[in-house]
Point group: C2
């Protein structure tokens, strides 16, 4: 098992990029800021850096605490820290909030310098490629010419995969967890329902809710409920909630099932911390991702440029991005002669399992990361 | 394959029951109406009647057309008609809209005689047991003392199962399609999201939207989108939609995925024809159903009273009520020495497959129904 060591108190910082940034859409962002946390120390050779790519609702705060009073540590604290699988005694870990986010990097909540008012729904479309390019600018700023490891789960895994394919000389090792080479119609449909929940909220105001000092909190809560439900497995939910009921104080129900109460709470909580325009932007980036878009859907050709040592991990009960989607990537990597390890973790944690404490998973990550050779970079 | 014969033009009629009706909750409904369609002729022995139990959003209009101009026939027209599996040359088919519905039977849209205003959210809670009891009153009215067949899919299958368990002498044959002995936490969670979509719509007005001449159409559309998505299989959606995009005229999107456009259309259409209070009532009946509630969850004990010849059918790609849920019932029926046939239909039609044209499915139904012995009743 992991040791309980933490990176301790951490402070995010802003990295400002003044140069205009050309997005994949052709739109140009007139400079931008990324909010960043780092853990550990970059070595003199500059070859021990690990890039953490976050998923849909993640951010830069991956490990440690911002203050001693923080109830919870960063979202990947079980993986990142001294003596943990992503060992900060050995690695220099870089974690950022992606462009278009709502946790400190430039996004829809910021002021559009051209108009002087909030971007809101006019924030340009951002895709995985743009995130990778902005992460690359950050690497350059930090003096990192080649990542020891690029790693991410779900949408984060898609960024890691894009890195390995498009910048093969800049990624030594790449871990793609709970991801897929592209979304299925069912995946897209769940995202569409989430978006529809937001945009059909009367306080959506075509995305200009900020100007009205409002927010589509009900729609966003619903969107999160749908999302959260799909991140859990049916088995996991049965174990956690079963058909238990609990009393609530709400106006129209005397008693609800445990699972109802849980989902309502999750949705309500999320809707107060996350921005609706960012949620739309992130889900669209997910829908639009297709690593084989440039190779007519041929995954072998798409992955051919990869030079990184690859790790693909899937989770048995993940029905959002099922193990078969990971095996598509593994097959293509094997067929093109890449160095690839694959594990399907037996768990009832569902899609969210990449965030959870599962001994087999953490030990697998530790073993694979221990074999990252820093001298060989 | 089925012949194309139709029951032709059909006319629903209202059956009014004046006696107060005691519901499982203890609430009393002061009389009620059921809207009913029948196809075929009740024979002199009164032993050729088939009861059709509808699912969440179904109604009494199961076969034929109400007018020559009707674009679509009743919802189970592929199964019901002269020469079809439920052969109206042989059977007298009874189909009704359940109590609490919004298609003509007494429900939330009707006037509460006690108050003189619309029931709305004050319509009493209705459970599967209540539906079966009201269907029993209807049978009595029609002179049917024992059903040749009680049949239903999904929530309709649960009614059929309740019939077979609680009125074993009144059901000769019972077909339970795409159903489960009770819902899982995941099932309940999907229903809860649907309900939450409705009740968080500002035009919900605590269920009294009728008084405001409004309706929570956006919430109801969303609820249906969630539901509809879970009735399809991932494979079926991939085949039907893939990642194709289409242009739309809407304000904020130039292009959407086919699947988005489809779901929006389904949701919008449903929200104009269905009542939100009924949707809540129906999903709650689904959540509350548990055939083994009285036997401490012991399914064998629960199903022990059954005397009917049973058919259980599941569909390989149904992830809402997966084949394993059907097998729970089959195992319990075998363990208690019942006459049971079981088939898992290989299809990518998902949960909705019980409504679809699948040759293997229709032939199975025909074969099982052909062996219904009317003389032996």
């Amino acid at each position: 098992m992991q040791t309980a060591n933490s990176v301790g108190l951490v402070t995010p910082r802003i990295e400002r990029f003044e140069e205009p940034f050309v997005l994949a859409s052709g739109d140009v962002l007139p400079g931008y800021e990324l909010i960043v946390e780092t853990y550990g120390t970059l070595n003199n050779a500059g070859n021990n850096a690990v890039l953490i790519c976050h998923a849909l609702s993640g951010n830069h705060h991956a490990a440690g605490r911002h203050s001693a009073e923080d109830r919870k540590p960063g979202w990947w604290d079980n993986l990142i820290g001294p003596g943990k699988p992503i060992d900060t005694n050995r690695f220099f870990v870089v974690s950022l909030n992606n462009l278009g986010g709502c946790d400190g990097s430039t996004g829809p909540n910021n002021i559009n310098p051209a108009s002087g008012s909030q971007w809101g729904p006019d924030f340009p479309e951002v895709v995985v490629e743009d995130w990778v390019n902005s992460q690359r600018a950050l690497a350059n700023r930090l003096g990192i010419t080649r990542w020891a490891v690029v790693i991410g789960g779900s949408l984060g895994g898609m960024q890691a995969l894009h890195w390995a394919v498009h910048y093969p000389d800049e990624v030594a090792n790449c871990a793609v967890l709970a991801a897929a080479p592209r979304l299925t119609a069912q995946n897209i449909a769940f995202n569409e329902i989430a978006r529809h929940a937001i945009t059909s909220d009367p306080e959506w105001f075509d995305g200009y809710y900020g100007r009205q000092k409002k927010a589509p909190v009900r729609g966003l809560a619903l969107a999160r409920m749908v999302g959260h439900l799909t991140y859990m497995s049916a088995e996991g939910m049965t174990d956690k909630f079963g058909r238990e009921r609990r009393h609530v104080d709400e106006n129209h129900d005397d008693q609800v099932f445990e699972v109802e109460s849980y989902l309502r709470h999750q949705g309500a909580q999320f809707s107060t911390r996350f921005d609706a325009n960012t949620y739309l932007l992130m889900t669209r980036a997910l829908d639009n991702f297709d690593i084989a878009a440039d190779t007519d859907g041929d995954l072998c050709s798409a992955l051919a440029p990869i030079r990184a040592r690859m790790l693909i991990v899937s989770f048995s009960s993940d029905w959002r991005f099922s193990p078969s989607r990971s095996r598509e990537m593994v097959d293509a990597l094997i067929n093109t002669g890449k160095t690839v390890s694959y594990a399907e973790i037996e768990t009832d944690g569902g899609h969210d399992a990449f965030l959870l404490n599962d001994t087999q998973y953490l030990e697998l990550m530790r073993a694979w990361l221990n074999r990252v050779q820093l001298d060989a970079l």
